[in-house]
């Protein structure tokens, strides 16, 4: 398996404040990889380290098997990047900008470029400064895809895109993957990448918490349960059961989320009269939040200890 991105203990401090710490990230070639985390978690810092725009305090990074600093130009020939805060030469028209960037790159598939312009419905006659955020983003995406790079690094690529264009963007990513190319997408919105990515890495407060395949994440899915009892039940009977969290009892109804086996909960419930039991599989978003809620000691212990309040707090944090 070839490796598209590989970092080892990648660390960046800005003065004394943290950028990222000890990031060990491996992204295999031919995948769509989602790099997830709330704003300020270190996603852009990591990406800018990969692009050699900033230099690491410690650790190292390789892209397409090459050193990000020493082999910079060789990497640039095979990698496209669309920054989150995309700034382009505002005095140029879209067409002029694509011409300029194409010339800098040296090789552009002209037919493919025209196809991209058509598919993303980009008006290339307007000056960049008159474009909306979403339209600017489209210029950036056309520029990134038109060189058919081996690796696409896209920092929050879909911000401002309307749903139709977003779908077209997803098709483009899938096509790229189909051709064996790698797409690295950062996002703070899980639903945006959930159905697109093969694997996701979760970064929080500068540390990479976990890298999982979407399938594995879903296997570890939490279930939300609601059990209606025939009578009031004591909360003490359920508190501390393995895998049970966010436990509340409201009159005769128990609500909780369970990770892993339901066995203990079901057996305990059976001591009382159970009238109804509802189970809802949680969204990936909630799994994601469970990671956050578990804090730094994550990996094995997402299920224990972390209360609902912590997860709730992180929800606000992520949305901020």
């Amino acid at each position: 398996m070839t490796i598209a991105i590989e970092t080892e203990k990648l660390t960046k401090y800005y003065g004394r404040s943290r950028g990222v710490m000890d990031v060990d990230l491996t992204v295999e070639a031919g995948q769509i990889f989602g790099f997830l985390g709330p704003n300020g978690a270190g996603k852009s810092t990591t990406i800018r380290l990969l692009l050699d725009l900033i230099r690491p305090t410690a650790g190292r990074a390789r892209v397409l098997g090459m050193d990000v600093h020493r082999d910079r130009l060789a990497i640039d020939r095979r990698v496209s990047y669309v920054p989150g805060e995309l700034s382009l030469y505002s005095e140029l028209t879209g067409r002029q900008l694509l011409t300029y960037l194409g010339n800098l790159q040296g090789r552009v598939d002209g037919d493919y470029r025209e196809k991209l312009i058509e598919r993303l419905e980009l008006d290339t006659t307007k000056r960049i400064k008159s474009l909306s955020r979403g339209n600017k983003q489209k210029v950036g995406l056309v520029a990134a895809f038109m060189i058919r790079p081996d690796l696409l690094i896209l920092d929050e690529p879909t911000a401002g895109l309307d749903p139709f264009i977003q779908l077209e963007f997803e098709h483009l990513c899938e096509e790229a993957r189909g051709e064996g190319r790698t797409v690295f997408i950062s996002s703070h919105q899980l639903p945006e990448v959930e159905h697109l990515c093969d694997r996701v890495g979760i970064i929080r407060e500068g540390r990479l918490l976990a890298v999982e395949s979407i399938a594995a994440l879903k296997e570890r899915a939490l279930r939300r349960l609601e059990i209606d009892f025939g009578d009031q039940v004591p909360i003490e009977a359920f508190a501390g059961l393995p895998g049970v969290r966010d436990l509340t009892i409201d009159g005769e109804t128990l609500r909780c989320t369970v990770m892993g086996s339901l066995d203990a909960l079901v057996k305990t419930s059976a001591r009382f009269e159970v009238r109804n039991l509802r189970s809802v599989e949680t969204s990936l978003e909630e799994i994601f939040m469970a990671y956050y809620g578990a804090g730094e000691g994550l990996g094995e212990g997402a299920g224990d200890g972390a209360g609902g309040s912590a997860a709730g707090k992180e929800t606000t944090h992520a949305a901020a």
Binding site: L51, I54, E91
Partner: protein, 265 residues
């Protein structure tokens, strides 16, 4: 063609500023060349200067105004043209790295196979070209003005003086570039370059009046720019070499500083 690479893109970016600065400096010089005979008839310029005494020297008006060369030296080459070319070159040079950084375009630019060093070099070459074009405009306007007023103006001396002017611009442009490349702060780059120019100008002008300043006079780039009175005596190679060396040293400093730095997001 103007979108072919960083050099031509920069030329494209600078085309209007260069046009206006060239036109402005040229029109001013042409105007003086055209009206010199009228001025010199109306006023006895030399005796006016004599009455001003040391004050004239402070204003850069040391010398004699009995010829167009002397007149241009006093009126334009000693203060106004250098101030303009320095502001022009420093303004352009500071915009390269700090300007692209503050606009955020440097991230995109550097994700293409163009090295940081090459960006600085190609952009510097574009500034060199812009200064040459502006100087050529001055030359053309001045020669036209002198021809129209039938005044003698040696074309080679004028060209040599303008070459010194361009070198002065490049030296200060390189200073601004170095600050901009090292800090990413465009305002600081222009501010410091212009401040240094003002101090150097004053040191050179005051040294003509105050003996004590003569020891530090060699530190002023104006000493080399004007020292040999290029409009009258032609270009001094050693003076030109000093200005070129200063430009080269700061250009190299910029390359090193920009290569090493974390770029602003």
């Amino acid at each position: 063609m103007l979108l072919r690479n960083v050099f031509w893109k920069t030329v494209r970016d600078l085309r209007w500023p260069t046009f206006w600065v060239g036109l402005g400096m040229g029109a001013m010089t042409g105007y003086f060349a055209l009206l010199y005979p009228t001025y010199s008839k109306l006023f006895d310029l030399d005796s006016m200067l004599a009455k001003m005494g040391p004050a004239a020297k402070l204003l850069g008006a040391g010398g004699d105004a009995s010829s167009l060369i002397g007149f241009l030296h006093i009126e334009l080459f000693s203060m106004i043209l250098p101030a303009l070319i320095v502001a022009f070159a420093a303004g352009m040079a500071s915009g390269f790295t700090a300007g692209e950084e503050s606009r955020g375009t440097i991230d995109v630019l550097l994700s293409y196979p163009v090295s940081r060093r090459r960006i600085v070099l190609e952009k510097s070459a574009a500034v060199f070209l812009a200064c040459l074009v502006a100087a050529a405009a001055v030359w053309a306007f001045a020669m036209a003005g002198a021809a129209a007023s039938s005044t003698a103006l040696p074309p080679d001396r004028l060209a040599e003086a303008l070459a010194m002017l361009v070198l002065l611009g490049l030296a200060f442009g390189a200073i601004a570039l170095a600050i901009s490349a090292a800090t990413g702060n465009r305002a600081a780059a222009i501010g410091v370059a212009v401040a240094v120019m003002v101090v150097m100008y004053l040191v050179d002008a005051l040294a003509a009046v105050v003996d004590g300043l003569n020891t530090i006079r060699p530190l002023s780039l104006f000493r080399y720019y004007l020292g040999n009175d290029p409009l009258r005596n032609g270009l001094s190679f050693s003076d030109a070499a000093v200005l070129a060396a200063v430009a080269a040293v700061f250009l190299v400093t910029s390359l090193v500083a920009f290569e090493r730095r974390d770029l602003a997001a």
